[in-house]
Symmetry: C2
Subunit: 265 residues, 2 copies
């Protein structure tokens, strides 16, 4: 990716709404962004189009076969008690991946929820033309313009368990930091405030590949980069499912790195 150092003046020439206090920056010319909501919709449509059987249901429990020699994942039980049997199960349930009943302790992904609050705003005139990231008093804030005039400001990072309430403090922090970076944000319409949960892992890196339970593959722990890492995650996991081997690029993210015994064995 191209990287270019910029003076404060360069920054304001590229994005005139930037605050006079911005002293310098870095331009990532090949950076890009997508709208996660539209992306998920497009992904579902594409999957359905190629014949993927998408079932929107709640998996209440992992099925495990214990036929004599070795335990092995064998599918999931749904909320209504019915079962979906499978040779391999991919557990990709974000910050809830550690909570599926039936998963043996040593195969359970060590993920925790990290709360993130974001704001959605709307501008009737061009505001910024590219994603602007800034550091304000040590905390990071980003402002992402969408083609339809929506402007996303994010994101807090809070260790509060499974709490998804929008807090006055979280909204205040985002508005304050965005204002510091781009004073014109005060003129924008505030259309939405939301709070959601990211899956953090002990080293905040993804957890990809076979777990300690044969037949149970994990794809979780992406923390702040879930959407960004979707394509590479899909490629790696698909390759693992087809060939039985996770490509080399994925091996540093093996779930087994958190089990010192297994790693050294």
């Amino acid at each position: 990716m191209r990287v270019e150092r910029l003076t404060g003046r360069d920054c304001r020439r590229l994005e005139p709404m930037l605050a006079p206090g911005v002293r310098g920056g870095v331009l990532l010319g090949d950076d890009h962004s997508i709208d996660p909501r539209r992306f998920v919709g497009a992904l579902l449509a594409a999957a359905t189009h190629v014949g993927v059987d998408v079932r929107r249901d709640h998996a209440s429990r992992l099925l495990v076969d214990n036929d004599g020699h070795e335990a092995r994942a064998a599918g999931v039980a749904l909320g209504d008690g019915s079962e979906i049997r499978a040779g391999t199960v991919v557990l990709a349930a974000g910050c809830w991946s550690g909570g599926l009943a039936g998963v043996p302790e040593n195969a359970r992904p060590p993920v925790r929820p990290v709360k993130g609050q974001i704001l959605r705003m709307r501008s009737s005139y061009p505001f910024v033309t590219r994603t602007v990231r800034g550091v304000v008093r040590g905390s990071t804030v980003y402002v992402v313009p969408r083609s339809d005039g929506e402007i996303v400001v994010g994101a807090t990072s809070e260790e509060l368990g499974f709490d998804t309430t929008v807090s006055a403090g979280g909204v205040y922090e985002l508005l304050r930091d965005a204002h510091e970076l781009l004073p014109g944000t005060t003129e924008l319409e505030l259309t939405e405030t939301t709070a959601a949960l990211r899956p953090g892992s002990p080293d905040n890196m993804p957890i990809l590949g076979e777990s300690a339970l044969p037949g149970l593959v994990l794809a979780t722990g992406h923390y702040r980069s879930g959407v960004l890492l979707t394509p590479v995650t899909a490629d790696l996991i698909a390759e693992l499912l087809e060939t039985g081997t996770l490509p080399n690029i994925g091996t540093p993210f093996s779930p087994l790195r958190f089990h010192s015994e297994e790693v050294s064995a």
Copy 2:
């Protein structure tokens, strides 16, 4: 109303969540507050109960009779073209009171919309026990606790015409000032952000009584105190309708004060 000067320590003894920076205050022991949403619901129920015929409709035009000698208000036309005839019309349409078609120029109340944004928050523990008003960097902010755990923070005052968008700047200002007064607001859930319009008059005092058009009575221009002044306004206007005379307490608020010719005549 009882008024008592307080030191900063007194303030924090009464409301422990107040910021250490609060240097002093004034206690209005008989002050009180009501929830305007519940109040309007109760008022409608009470009116219906005593036989008032409440029609929720859009009055599109004032009807004026011009039978030879003097023009006189005679009712309103509704959006569907039907008419409600009346001997006297009370125009009490808030900041829209100046916009009713058919009202002669000299009888039109000079009201303008003054935008106010407020926040609603929720606390699961006692936060403040009474309305707290503060002045932060010259702007006023108030925090009103409701018995059900809701906490209202208000309000901006913006001259932006009929704009009712919730702005990032308005929400930021309220959160910042509330935080300065009561740092603990950052821990509260932010449940709602709204913007609405108050009716301001040239002197920001109410406009009460007969207009220059016989048969057209005005009750508008209450600016920030609409709910507060509802009982006294209702008493005054009811008296005017029954006796033909506005009680003395209401005369300073006559619509005619804005027509120097009429007042001096």
